[in-house]
């Protein structure tokens, strides 16, 4: 996005070509965003609208999906509902309008809280460890530095399912199976490789002269690190943290295999939001929408660093 103006003063594309390019790109963008738009729309549909044929583009929006997502309900005969005391709030009223009675809270809040705790916990840990290690690799002659960096990267390349088997057994043995601590440690281990590679790139870009000046001024290494390097690396650390958070937030395979309830996060939970007679699509869509919303914010926040993040710092501009 930067340096855009530098290009092609000679063979500036003709207005027609430019217009055609815009047409194709915008069409692709709209088509590729449709599935996501459809998720958002389904979240506000009633169950019958969600599975109507032909698929409905126009519908009366309702919060049924969200109410279904957060509550457990049972179907009751019409006259039973008529005899109940009047609904205490809007969502009870909404449920009763289609013959359902709310009998309790669903577990979605716990799953969401798990996603948040495990996501942030592993992000903070991975960023912390990653910053320290990246500084070490960036500023000092570490023996076998290249091999160690490759080792760190290769841990990320391991197929999650392949390592899940022994980790499952280890976690069972250590009592870490289905615990938040276990998931935080695991996600930290996966994320730390990305954190080290990205942060090494960011720290490499900070001129050494600053630290050297500080060292000459009587700072210790640790002081120089804390007071000179860290403030300069803040943007890089923030970008890295968001990348780690996105990974932890989206992760599915490990959590599916290494947790069953206590540490279950949203991704393995969402497919099991089931209504009577199959998936309750508005509820699934409501959960999916709430789950995806933070990612939109992160993506926009990360725009400048996206390329770096997805290539482990190999491509920077």
């Amino acid at each position: 996005m930067s340096g855009a103006r530098l290009h092609r003063p000679f063979s500036e594309p003709s207005p027609l070509l430019r217009w055609l390019a815009a047409l194709v790109v915008v069409t692709y963008a709209i088509v590729s965003i449709l599935p996501i738009v459809w998720i958002g729309m389904t979240a506000f549909k009633s169950q019958s609208d969600a599975i109507a044929y032909p698929p409905k583009l126009l519908f009366t929006p309702t919060l049924e999906g969200f109410v279904d997502l957060f509550t457990v309900q049972t179907r009751q005969p019409h006259d039973f509902i008529a005899k109940l005391p009047p609904p205490a709030n809007w969502y009870e009223k909404l449920a009763r309008s289609h013959d359902m009675v709310i009998v309790g809270r669903s577990r979605v809040v716990e799953r969401f809280v798990n996603s948040i705790i495990i996501g942030f916990g592993s992000t903070i840990l991975a960023t912390l460890l990653g910053t320290l290690a990246a500084y070490g690799f960036s500023r000092f002659k570490v023996p076998l530095a290249d091999d160690l960096m490759f080792f760190i990267l290769s841990t990320r390349m391991m197929p999650p399912i392949a390592v899940a088997v022994p980790i499952y057994m280890m976690y069972r043995y250590l009592g870490l199976y289905d615990t938040r601590t276990g998931m935080i440690l695991l996600y930290t281990a996966v994320n730390v490789s990305l954190a080290v590679w990205l942060l090494k790139g960011f720290i490499d870009e900070i001129p050494r002269e600053y630290e050297e000046a500080a060292l000459i001024d009587g700072y210790t290494r640790l002081q120089a690190f804390r007071k000179v390097v860290l403030p300069q690396a803040v943007t890089g650390i923030a970008a890295t943290a968001i990348f780690c958070l996105i990974f932890s937030w989206n992760e599915y395979a490990f959590d599916l295999l290494l947790s069953s309830s206590e540490a279950q996060t949203m991704p393995p939970f969402i497919p099991f939001i089931i209504g009577e007679g199959g998936q309750n699509w508005p509820a699934v869509a409501a959960g999916t929408t709430l789950f995806l919303a933070p990612i939109f914010v992160f993506t926009i926040a990360l725009r400048k660093h996206l390329l770096r993040g997805i290539t482990f710092g190999a491509v920077r501009k």
Partner: protein, 319 residues
């Protein structure tokens, strides 16, 4: 500019409260200690959570152990490996995986490169639309894959309706997920939808790295745009493209979440990627020894690819 300011501030601050030299040497750690203090926690964590389990898996791969049965390991030598390498069903799974990897990458490269070339024409608003296009790859493959099962329902899903609307074929005349013929293409399609932005973004970086003067020189030499594309643009973008391809190859070879929720390997085993077979062997049949052997084979394959990956990565960096 700001750098200069900071340095002077440090000098000022340090001169005001610098401790006497002797005391400082005691408080400050040696550089060597700092390095190990900084690197060791990461290494220890990776050793505990990656390397130790891996070594354990290698050991288990020579046993007939089943994690759900309380019985001793029972070494079986290389029997698991022989089983895997002679199993025809597993061979089919590898073929399914190869089909998936090949086609999804071919499509990603074609569409991704084309989009990058078009975006590089810098029409008004191109930056906004680029961000829109990037969105799918940021989302959770599992959660989005799960939702695609609704989108692809033959009767009620918008996908069939959309196709039917443009081709005139009745919407319920085909099912993307349930049919043996279409299902392998369905996973290719959804994965391509998800990861084309990745290839596009890297290609875009490649295009922007090409210095303007090369095109100017070509223009002076009256090279046609077609010629310019083949002898300037494409060769200059290739290292970037290769990086994207390698990364996507590893990723789609390991693919689990999206496909597990989209088709869970079916119908039959037409979309059963190796990682799904592995998950079934390990967590449904509980053939831990066999699964470990398969995991080791997968790991060796990916490790080899990662090795190449790093080499390409370093080459791209040098340019």
């Amino acid at each position: 500019m700001t750098g200069m300011d900071t340095t002077t501030t440090f000098a000022d601050r340090a001169s005001k409260r610098a401790p006497p030299r002797s005391a400082r040497r005691v408080v400050g750690l040696s550089d060597r200690a700092v390095v190990w203090l900084f690197i060791a926690p990461t290494m220890l964590l990776l050793l505990a959570i990656n390397i130790f389990p891996l070594i354990w898996a290698i050991r288990l791969s020579f046993t007939g152990f089943m994690a759900n049965l309380p019985r001793p390991l029972g070494f079986v030598g290389i029997a698991n490996y022989v089983d895997i390498l002679t199993d025809e069903d597993l061979w089919t799974n590898f073929q399914v995986t190869a089909h998936f990897v090949f086609w999804t990458i071919a499509l990603q490269v074609l569409i991704g490169l084309a989009l990058a070339l078009l975006i590089n024409q810098k029409f008004r608003g191109h930056s906004f639309w680029t961000t829109v296009i990037l969105l799918p790859m940021m989302l959770s493959p599992a959660v989005v894959g799960n939702f695609w099962t609704l989108l692809l329902q033959p009767q009620i899903g918008p996908f069939n309706y959309f196709i039917g609307f443009f081709t005139g074929a009745p919407a319920s005349s085909f099912t993307m997920i349930g049919s043996v013929k279409l299902a392998p293409w369905t996973i290719v399609m959804v994965n391509t939808w998800m990861w084309t932005p990745y290839v596009m973004l890297i290609c875009l970086a490649g295009l922007r790295s090409i210095p303007e003067f090369i095109y100017e020189a070509a223009e002076v030499d009256r090279a046609s745009p077609w010629r310019q594309f083949w002898s300037i643009t494409l060769p200059m973008v290739t290292p970037f493209l290769m990086l994207a391809v390698l990364f996507q190859a590893i990723q789609s070879f390991e693919m689990f979440d999206l496909v597990n929720l989209l088709t869970s390997g079916g119908p039959g085993s037409t979309t059963e990627l190796v990682s799904i077979t592995l998950k079934r062997a390990a967590f449904e049949k509980w053939e831990t020894g066999y699964a470990s052997a398969l995991a080791v084979i997968l790991f060796v394959t990916v490790f080899g690819a990662a090795n190449i990956y790093v080499r390409v990565l370093n080459k791209v960096k040098q340019q």
